[in-house]
Symmetry: C2
Subunit: 117 residues, 2 copies
DNA sequence: TATGGATATGCACAACTCGACATATCGATA
DNA sequence: TATCGATATGTCGAGTTGTGCATATCCATA
């Protein structure tokens, strides 16, 4: 038996929309915050700008909140920054994700490790 | 803001094979145990027999263990039952999954609920 | 020994996702 | 006011995944 590793994926859904926010969108917000633009954020995550832009749009529509303030124009072309709500979501989801990460590690040790190695 | 629900997905991977065991295969084992056949199990899960059979094969190959004992023939056509290892995995993963389910619920309450409603 | 329902497996097709392109637009600053 | 880099958005093609269908095989029991 090869060594196993537990992985997980988290997301939030409403009754009719699956995945209004989740790991991917969370990483996107983080990257936007640290890079200051959607373009650079998508590059740092190695996803297409097209997808990053679409994901962000979906999240904002589904949550009905503006997460990122985007500006076009200027010599620098434009930039993006998190709104107050964007920061709020980033912070909350970071805690959420981190708690589950720890829980997965612990549960793996408790239930799986002994039968997997 | 619509009411949100936290969802998650768990799985186990080796260094080179992603998803050697996970939620889907776990549900499959459960269904095989309760129905006694792969055909009925796939029907109860509403997935094609083709997929159920393939998933099971993949899991067994990746774990290098036999999880289900399958028999062909007879008036009843055949049947499937979990092996000792299959039961072991079912039990272990059930505990694993259940712990994470609780953790997700708790972490949602702690981090997300207050900003989502 | 004929039967019937289950296992076993290949293959073509549909659905979905994502990436790659192609454009259009914007507007602060040099 | 010309520029330049970023946002905004549609579209087509490739890869992935699961379904549907077809077929072959198996064998305990009636």
């Amino acid at each position: 038996m090869k060594k196993l590793k537990a992985k997980f994926k988290l997301w939030l859904s409403t009754r009719d929309i699956e995945g209004v926010f989740g790991d991917g969108k969370w990483r996107l917000l983080k990257a936007i915050e640290s890079t200051g633009s959607l373009t650079q954020a998508s590059e740092s995550l190695r996803i297409s700008y097209r997808k990053a832009w679409g994901d962000l749009k979906k999240a904002q529509e589904a949550l009905n909140e503006s997460l990122v303030e985007k500006h076009r124009g200027g010599t620098r072309g434009g930039q993006s920054a998190l709104t107050k709500q964007g920061k709020k979501w980033l912070k909350a989801y970071t805690g959420f994700h981190s708690d589950i990460e720890k829980a997965v590690e612990k549960a793996y040790e408790k239930h799986i490790r002994k039968i997997a190695e």
